[in-house]
């Protein structure tokens, strides 16, 4: 496998970002971009910033408008309204060639008639740089992307990963304002994909060029992005660090798009969330809601803790009792389908009978509310469950979202 990319220690050019006199801190800024194709709205008032040296991932399903944003930043598409600013300069009306952005296309779009060297040198050639300067830059970039052995080859003689590295080097040659990656790993197999995105992440940290990635793969987004912007149907749902969007999703869409999420409806009552008969203590989380407000309780399968004897760990907040419905091993972890009993009021003196009789989930009556839980392998090995086991269910972390069922969202 390819060794870790590294610049030679004597290389004076550590940064491939353009030299600038004023440091604004914001590399690229998109302000209230809207776009329609024919009559169909594709983007609706999208705004975000990319900081100097930062990598931002635009995450969304196909048709969410993420590619259109990228094309608008690159200058390949005109927005109907709004503006694009690169390093403090409004480029909304500039054609693509005057913007100095680097686009890494999904197909890489390497020039088939040019060798690796010539592809990389293209940006300098059309800028009429001197031959000596061209050769030096190409040499440094070829070293940077580890293609010394392939410099005389043509694109079709290279693997997908190598082609991608040529594509990156080709844009770095002219010190781009910002790098735009359009589904950079879409055309690669799963293994190469994981390998390459680590490489690219390391490379970007090294060259210090701000970048925007486009992907529909949440795993990729979490790994590549300093921040993630989740797009849904042409508008921005949430923008934040991977930790923020994953652990504190702002909307139901974000919660469900970024990994699996359980969703329960509840009502806020004096620092608790009531879900059916269950009462979940949530002092901190309910602070921004008023009493009696309807909320959605969102939690990830891995945030569910189960206990056969009602003794939940310290960090877990008790939610309800439940019955194991199905246990399945999914490779690296175990997945459990649990039916929650949210209909029975626990008898008084809960400690006396922690796992009171519940009559949910009989073949005749399926009244339990289904949730999904996952457990890591070691835990799955120490405590085994089989369908029909009664468990206490708690949550280590969760988030509350306002429940707009009647009022139109947005």
């Amino acid at each position: 496998m390819t060794p870790k990319m590294q610049l030679a220690p004597d290389d004076p050019h550590v940064s491939w970002a353009p030299e600038r006199t004023q440091k604004t801190g914001v590399a690229a800024s998109v302000r209230s971009i809207s776009k329609r194709f024919k009559k169909t709205p594709v983007l609706d008032d999208v705004s975000f910033d990319v900081a100097e040296g930062e990598s931002l991932v635009l995450l969304g399903a196909s048709g969410s408008g993420k590619t259109t944003i990228l094309r608008i930043i690159a200058g390949l598409e005109q927005p109907d309204t709004g503006s694009v600013t690169l390093h403090g300069k409004d480029v909304t009306d500039l054609p693509a060639r005057e913007r100095g952005v680097g686009v890494i296309f999904q197909s890489y779009a390497l020039f088939p008639r040019m060798t690796v060297e010539k592809n990389i040198a293209f940006g300098l050639k059309i800028r009429h740089r001197r031959r000596k300067e061209r050769r030096e830059t190409v040499d440094r970039l070829i070293k940077l992307v580890q293609l010394e052995k392939h410099r005389k080859k043509y694109p079709w003689q290279l693997s997908g990963g190598q082609q991608q590295r040529v594509a990156i080097a080709r844009t770095l040659a002219y010190k781009p304002q910002v790098l735009l990656f359009d589904e950079p790993f879409g055309a690669l197999d799963a293994q190469t994909r994981v390998h390459l995105r680590r490489e690219i992440r390391a490379l970007l940290k090294q060259v210090k060029v701000p970048s925007i990635f486009i992907t529909h793969d949440q795993e990729e987004a979490l790994e590549l992005g300093d921040r993630i912007a989740v797009l849904n149907d042409g508008h921005l749902e949430q923008i934040g660090t991977p930790d923020e969007v994953y652990n504190h999703p702002a909307t139901e869409y974000v919660a469900t798009f970024l990994g699996a999420a359980n969703l329960l409806l509840g009502v806020v009552t004096r620092g608790n969330v009531e879900i059916g008969t269950a009462r979940l203590p949530a002092e901190k989380e309910t602070r921004r809601f008023r009493d009696g407000q309807s909320v959605k309780l969102v939690f990830r399968p891995e945030d569910v803790c189960l206990s056969p004897d009602a003794k939940l760990p310290e960090t877990c907040r008790r939610l309800a009792n439940g019955v194991i419905e199905e246990v399945s091993f999914v490779g690296s972890y175990e997945r459990l389908n649990v039916r929650l009993d949210l209909a029975h009021r626990p008898p008084t003196g809960e400690l006396a009978a922690p796992l009171y009789q519940v009559t949910i989930n009989t073949p005749e009556r399926m009244i339990g509310v289904p949730i999904m839980a996952t457990r890591p392998k070691p835990e799955a090995h120490t405590t085994r469950y089989k369908p029909g086991d009664r468990v206490a269910v708690g949550l280590t972390s969760f988030s509350l979202l306002p429940n707009y069922t009647l009022a139109k969202h947005r």
Binding site: A74, A109, F111, P112, I126
Partner: protein, 278 residues
């Protein structure tokens, strides 16, 4: 390419030799033998006769004229075909399909009709020819070029256009984002991908133009040593009963077309690679 056929019968398949035999049997009298007879008859009176017929001033002139007029017609049609293919595959405008159909129309028009139409327009009493006064175009080598252009008009376009259509737009977009102007993109990125199509388009056009007879005989006037192209020379000499003279030129034209065709055929892999990569 590996050739495979489904086995329909057990053991020896009689359909195989029969069908191959029928194909060859039809081709023999229709294609092989006529071509062969040119060479057999042409050299039957010895190579000396062949050579002297070939270097007759009229013959040399006819060959030269054919080459030169075909060359200019090819140049024009390749450049125009390139432009037309670019415009028609990159821009959408009202009447675009009508233009595509019109460009391809000369393929279906009988060449004699084409020559006649040119005469009506550019002839001494034609709509435009009337305005030319002393500088008549018809019955000069320019008329031959004009006729060749008309007849071979769709050939280069027809080869180049599909390559444009299938060419990935992202190459040109990549070039633009890197900072290339429209012209730099065309010169460094688009044109190299079209190399194969341009070469085969040019060869097809040239081969067709060299052999053009129907329209040329109407517009050129068929004047020996002035406007007589090689095919016209063959026809004229044949009519005069000088079979050897006609035959010598026929051999040259046949060899030329063999050459062009083998370039097209054997360079096919190279040309196909070109289009795939585009």
């Amino acid at each position: 390419m590996k050739i495979t056929a489904i086995r329909h019968v057990r053991g020896f398949d009689i359909a195989r030799p029969i069908s191959i035999g029928v194909v060859l049997g039809i081709m023999l009298p229709l294609v092989f033998l006529p071509l062969l007879s040119i060479f057999i008859y042409g050299t039957s009176k010895g190579l000396g006769t062949f050579w002297s017929s070939l270097i007759a001033p009229e013959a040399i002139f006819a060959l030269k004229l054919s080459m030169v007029t075909s060359f200019w017609a090819t140049m024009f049609n390749v450049v125009f075909g390139l432009l037309a293919a670019y415009v028609l595959s990159r821009y959408d405008f009202w009447g675009r399909n009508a233009v595509i159909v019109t460009i391809s129309l000369p393929t279906a028009i009988p060449t004699a009709v084409a020559g006649f139409a040119l005469l009506l327009l550019w002839g001494p009493y034609g709509t435009l020819g009337r305005l030319l006064n002393q500088q008549q175009v018809m019955f000069t080598p320019y008329a031959i070029i004009l006729a060749n252009i008309f007849v071979t008009f769709p050939l280069a376009f027809g080869v180049i256009k599909p390559v444009f259509d299938t060419m990935s737009r992202s190459l040109e977009e990549a070039s633009a984002t890197i900072g290339a102007t429209r012209w730099q993109t065309f010169w460094h990125v688009t044109l190299p991908s079209l190399r194969g199509a341009i070469v085969s388009g040019a060869l097809l056009t040239f081969a067709r133009a060299v052999g053009e007879f129907g329209s040329t005989i109407l517009v050129s006037g068929n004047l020996a040593l002035r406007t007589q192209t090689a095919p016209l020379y063959i026809f004229a000499k044949f009519n005069e009963g000088q079979i050897e003279a006609a035959n010598a030129i026929a051999i040259v034209l046949a060899l030329l077309s063999f050459m062009i065709f083998s370039v097209l055929f054997f360079a096919r892999d190279w040309l196909e690679f070109e289009t795939q990569e585009a």
